[in-house]
Symmetry: C2
Subunit: 333 residues, 2 copies
């Protein structure tokens, strides 16, 4: 089934139609990209692998969306406008042309949605798991890319959207014996919401311009808020405090945590949020919140950056208790 | 053995030391690249997978070199100067820190040799085969990237280096029963040469400036000369003739073909040459040959481009017989 089409056929019929102008119709060995005047190129690369980042049985369209969106999330958090992406597919033998059609269709829809066209890539047959490696290219005005190293003492810490949904969604999806009690008590609506948030992240690209204009430090939350915040503060040589009462939880996450309070930690240390975590000067907070409202992305102030020496950020419970997370990340490695 | 170091450790100890300035010390989620004034960005992506492009037991340094060099070969054939590369590693559990040290050391040596520093990437543990996906970025003066689509009727066809060594080296490496007769008769020197050419390609980066200044159509030969030439002529809407007596063979390849004449076709349809195939106007041939001599890369005129309609290129034997190769490529797919 799989070998009735060649790589050239695949490129011509499925991928060339979703290529951008810089992809040269996928008829060349390279893409040719204009860096707009006064802009720098922002390049990021994330690979997703069946069994690690998604389930092999996930719908091809959802796999395509996740692979592209985790990369666009990185561009968004850097304040960059997408230029396009290159894709390497390692394709196991059991995935046939029909699977690839669904995959390419969803990929094309997302490429249009995020103005991030396909520029090139490579397709290889493998006996291993389905693996997708994407390099996303974007542009930002010279000197304006938001750095992970830029957080300053006195900054306020903001996060977009809601935290923990995807980590809970992964628990729902995996349905381990220890989790069945709360999963079965969860409302259908909450269950669907958490699963969706795990499967198909929402990169906050609409926030990119506000981030590059106003944020001091920025990154996307992909490996768990606690660990990612610790990373940003460490490389910025500062510390921080987070007010747990301010943590933006979805109704679905609140429902899950109410059923099993231990899930609170899962929301802070699980991965796959793909929200923007950034710090900014207090005097810019109003402008940032207004900009976020204008583009329709929720942002929440969750804490503040404190002077170094760099220590693990402190998470303050409602009763004033202070917690830190020594292992605050979900490791895909 | 494999889990005694984290992805962060790996990045900090093995990969950050070989990162270029645009990689921001590998402390951020993205690289930040300056497009030099008047230059366009050239981006290319090739993945290599154990069992497809190399043998899992190959030395880690050779695997690193091959993964990077096949991408630099694409930049060279486009006439681009390297800016750097992003690397995704899918790492099976049996490869430990020592393996990664050897891998990173060779990668760093090649990054320096080709002025193509590491800019970023991603590392994921997998149960599948070792897979490496590299995106190489380069720059070329606006409008000067050599296109695969640029071949013109009347052009001369040139190829760099020698053809077929790697395809023969793969036969030597695989040592199938049908090949043992000639492999055993081959001199030690020839065997070593062919194996080396398969394992560690020589990207012809020194030729990049001559290619972008003088070539009409250009690509690197990665899937076999016959198939790659057919591809270039087809997308350029022209045809072509190749004089087989002019084909540049190494002494080792000549020795193998003398032992088993059927290997002549292997040299033309096998893959992994990573030589530059280009076409140029006859009046520029002298300048191109001089430029190639100056940078120490052998180039050979092997044929000429003829007017369309696009047909399979004709390969003329010494006795005047005309051959075409309907399946002229080695497929990695």
């Amino acid at each position: 089934m799989a070998s009735d089409f060649s790589e050239d056929d695949l490129i011509a019929t499925l991928f060339a139609p979703i290529a951008g102008a810089a992809g040269l119709g996928l008829l060349d060995d390279a893409a040719l990209i204009d860096a707009p005047d006064g802009m720098q190129i922002v390049a990021t690369k994330d690979a997703v692998v069946a069994g690690v980042h998604f389930f092999p049985t996930d719908a091809p369209g959802d796999i395509a969306r996740k692979a592209l969106r985790v990369n666009i999330s990185d561009l968004a958090a850097k304040g960059a406008d997408p230029l396009g992406f290159l894709l390497a597919i390692l394709l196991p033998p059991d995935l046939d042309e029909r699977w690839l059609q669904s995959f390419a269709q969803a990929l094309g829809e997302d490429a249009r949605l995020f103005h991030c066209p396909l520029l090139g890539g490579d397709t290889v047959r493998t006996d291993g798991p389905l693996s997708l490696s994407i390099t996303a290219l974007g542009s930002a005005p010279r000197g304006r890319m938001a750095r992970r190293t830029g957080a300053k003492a006195g900054d306020l810490i903001y996060v977009s959207g809601s935290i923990g949904d995807a980590a809970l969604g992964l628990r729902v999806r995996a349905a381990a014996a220890a989790d069945l009690a709360w999963i079965e008590l969860l409302s259908d609506q909450a269950r669907a919401h958490l699963l969706r948030r795990y499967l198909v992240p929402e990169p906050r690209l609409a926030l990119a311009h506000a981030v590059r204009s106003l944020a001091h430090g920025a990154m996307d939350v992909s490996d768990g808020l606690a660990g990612d915040l610790a990373k940003m503060l460490r490389v910025s040589k500062v510390s921080g405090q987070v007010d747990l009462a301010r943590m933006p939880y979805s109704l679905a996450a609140r429902e899950a945590i109410a059923l099993a309070p231990g899930l609170g930690d899962v929301t802070l240390t699980g991965g796959d949020d793909y929200e923007i975590l950034c710090t900014l000067a207090p005097q810019n907070a109003g402008q940032f919140e207004t900009a976020a409202r204008t583009v329709g992305v929720a942002v929440t102030r969750i804490g503040e950056v404190t002077a170094g020496p760099s220590e693990l950020p402190q998470f303050i419970e409602q009763d004033g208790a202070v917690r830190t997370f020594a292992k605050g990340s979900y490791s895909h490695f």
